[in-house]
Point group: C2
Chain length 360, copies 2
């Protein structure tokens, strides 16, 4: 056994892998939200020039990957392995989105926790020396998700107030070994003066550890209230992170959940309080950050794999890069269900993966 194995579910990397670059590509609603100026690309046409929502989602993934590669200053051939997934049946947005890159790939499904799952596996692979660069990518699309999980948009489906709005967006992340990072600063200074900060390669963001989540099932069955279904999994992973690493909430500048939204976040705060941990003041949820509650009617907030991914890429990582936040626990959450399992009366368990991001 290795020193890097911590507790029951976590790994602490002795040679922490770096996030070398990150990209965000979003749709029209996101481009009108509070983070509008931070995204790499915000498209007014939610079809992204494609004929179907699925193709549109694949197009976003492709653009997110290309943008992340471009920022890192490397080519697709330099990526050893790709870890990617989305919400659609048989992960088709990813298969179609990344196939042109011809990168050896691992297809993932972790519902809206997929960005965490992909970053965890990319970090594990980079830290083990299995290659110089790994690529983690994920996406969701409002149009394809409504069609997949509810009804095609043309049906003008009514949504309850507990429902969340699937983010149209894709985020991609290049993860490199411990030798990637700071050394590149010299290179960025002369070449990149005048380049906006969010267009740059990172030099100060590392993944110092991970906490892999387990499935947590409180027996909830309301697929239109996914925040409630996922909050117990978020609590479980956060508490496990604290336990495995001997930390409390105070260790982190921010604890950032993926898409619990307003209802799920309030439940998480209560659940954490029940565990003796007060996360108010340092908790932030991507589903509450990406849309404006007053002017953008999304009911309980944003959701989808893309929600956590683009918020991480556009908003969170630059703050870590600049040193504004030194330590962040990023916890994307997923609700494990399908229309079939829902129609058959199964419960909706949750899963959440914890990624410890640090300024170095």
């Amino acid at each position: 056994m290795n020193e890097i194995v911590k507790g029951k579910q976590s790994l602490l990397f002795l040679h922490a892998p770096r996030i070398v670059s990150a990209s965000s590509v979003v749709g029209s609603k996101e481009s009108e939200g509070p983070l509008r100026k931070l995204f790499d690309r915000a498209e007014k046409d939610d079809l992204f020039g494609a004929q179907t929502w699925e193709e549109a989602e694949s197009t976003m993934q492709k653009e997110a990957c290309m943008t992340a590669l471009c920022k890192a200053g490397i080519s697709a051939e330099e990526i050893r392995y790709l870890f990617g997934g989305d919400l659609l049946r048989q992960g088709i947005a990813t298969s179609m989105g990344v196939e042109d890159f011809r990168i050896p790939m691992f297809g993932l499904y972790g519902a809206c926790s997929t960005s965490g799952e992909a970053l965890a596996l990319a970090a594990m692979s980079a830290s083990a020396g299995y290659g110089k660069y790994m690529l983690a990518v994920t996406s969701s699309h409002f149009g394809s998700a409504e069609k997949e999980f509810r009804f095609p948009l043309g049906y003008a489906n009514q949504r309850p107030l507990s429902a969340q709005w699937t983010v149209t967006g894709s985020g991609a992340f290049i993860v490199g070994g411990a030798d990637e990072g700071r050394k590149t600063d010299e290179r960025t200074v002369p070449e990149m003066s005048g380049v906006p900060e969010q267009s740059r390669r990172f030099g100060h963001v590392c993944i110092s550890g991970i906490t892999v989540g387990k499935i947590v099932d409180y027996g909830l069955k309301d697929s239109q209230n996914m925040g409630a279904c996922m909050a117990p999994a978020a609590m479980d992973t956060i508490m496990r992170n604290f336990g495995d690493m001997g930390r409390t909430a105070a260790y982190y500048d921010r604890i950032i959940t993926g898409d619990l939204g307003y209802i799920g976040s309030s439940i998480l705060t209560d659940l954490m309080k029940g565990q003796g941990q007060d996360i108010r003041g340092r908790h932030l949820d991507c589903g509450m950050t990406i849309f404006d509650r007053e002017t953008q009617d999304t009911h309980a907030g944003g959701s989808g794999c893309g929600c956590a991914a683009v918020t991480l890429a556009a908003y969170v990582l630059p703050k870590i890069e600049s040193g504004e936040w030194g330590r962040v626990l990023f916890v994307p959450t997923g609700a494990l269900m399908s229309t079939v399992s829902f129609n058959e009366g199964a419960s909706v368990p949750g899963i959440a993966h914890g990624i410890v991001l640090e300024h170095f």
Copy 2:
């Protein structure tokens, strides 16, 4: 960069992880096939006592995991990470099947290549020292797959001759670090006399390397001829394995594809010939092995994640354990499609992962 990285897509493990145990649980048709005596559990009731095909598939996965744990003589708590997936939308058979074990988990989607994807990630994690034991599990079910991809069974859907028959089965594999394996022999001798060979823990099977596949798209669109869609991916991964590791077909006692079936296997033989590699005599396909062509009408052979997984567990690994086969390249293949992508006219690309299994 580490010595273990070989060529463009492969890893050669300096300290090769072991397959400590493997299990196979199958349904009625499989229990009447040529491998009937080798499966750990063959159930006449394809519902496995459940109410729905999906629940039945989850039940199989649960039993496969329990059997693999039992053979290895370890508990679920000793498993560090679980890598699992299935064919259903949002991988629901796996989520519902493994949740009770409460093992930190990575959900995967690689279509019928998932057993290879799971074994690759389990081996990567074990070899890196990220935990003592990993669990890889996958499944497919004829009833749930027909419902997912074609029509519910009650519709008595007609199948073309190029179609394959989805195997009802689940295979689970415990993967341990390099220190697991041979030492356990002493323990098995006194305790296990009288225990049938297939009920035992393995002591001589290692994963010496992997070749992670990339998506290969020849533009084929016939989802009822998946063997043809997947054969190019199998060729690509096998040739990449040879190239990365400096080998030819002669290095392996057997090259075993997952579920190309009769049509896909014949295409693979031709494609390999075009590359100057003759694999006849040493090629075997799980989809051609699990059912009897004369007496069991499956058209082009067996398919599904479960096909490769249970054939590996019940038939292939015991031959490696006994030393009958010294080196095997196991190449499960997947066709990346969904009913949505098919209906929208998208092509069906393939992916295949290579796992090098050796007797030690």
